[in-house]
Amino acid sequence: MIFLTRKAEFSSSHFYWNPQWSPEENQRVFGKCANRNGHGHNYTLEVTVAGEVDPTSGFVVDLKELKDILEREVVSVYDHRHLNLEVPEFKSAIPTTENIAVAIWNRLDNKIPNARLHRVRVYEMPDLFADYYGEP
């Protein structure tokens, strides 16, 4: 079995806010991430898939096809968007790095032919990133 990882990038804005809490509580827990006009990051996405090498093509997956899937399912939806305001899954979930990783998993799961989604890794910054392996 081979593990293959493809990167993609998107730049988005967001803020952290729990509508069930008071403004003071949001400020206390989330600090400057709660600023209501939002802020942004250059995100890097790493998608790892696992599969067997096709003996004819020598591929696990066609990288061009994987690139197109990432573009269609994730980048075209997230890039240069405000995650809280413009991406449906973050109407109800706070767009933390953890939740973005889960949301991207849900967008990609079962959409990659001939390979199993193994890990979604989302870098908010080089020093902060979250992983999701599809675990409940």
């Binding site: 079995m1 952290y16 729990n18 069930q20 809490w21 827990v29 989330f30 600090g31 696992a50 979930a93 706070i94 767009p95 933390t96 790095t97 953890e98 939740n99 990783a101 889960v102 193994h118 080089p126 020093d127 902060l128 990133f129 979250a130 992983d131 999701y132 392996y133 675990e135 409940p136």
Partner: protein, 146 residues
Amino acid sequence: MKAYLNRRYHFSASHRLHTDVFDTAKNREVFGKCNNPHGHGHNYTVQVTFSGPIDPATGMVCNLADLDSFAQENLISRFDHMNLNTLDTFADKVSTTENLSIEIYRLFQSFPAAHLEQVHIEETSNNSFDFAGGRAPLEMRTPGTI
């Protein structure tokens, strides 16, 4: 949903690889230039991985500000711009990055808000070390055993 949060911290420190178990010639033979008497230094990067359920109220495995304060108090303030050999933990151990990885793993284990999975330490851009409490690091485990 169980997720994994990775955070990287940076500190700079000096050290010297040397053990009183060996004589001068043996120290030189085993440790080479790392045994030079006045030590040398590195820019270390420490990457910690914590796991846990995503709290639906915060969207987080643990609050990053809490983890950063913990790291500042327990890692950065203790190790940054220090000579590792002078620290209590290296009084009876060689200050290799293997031993440093185990010490830093032990130290982050007491962070209360999430489960420590592993530490990954880069001593230079060419040398890195992983310690996951005796298990293989996540990236190197057999598929399906995560």
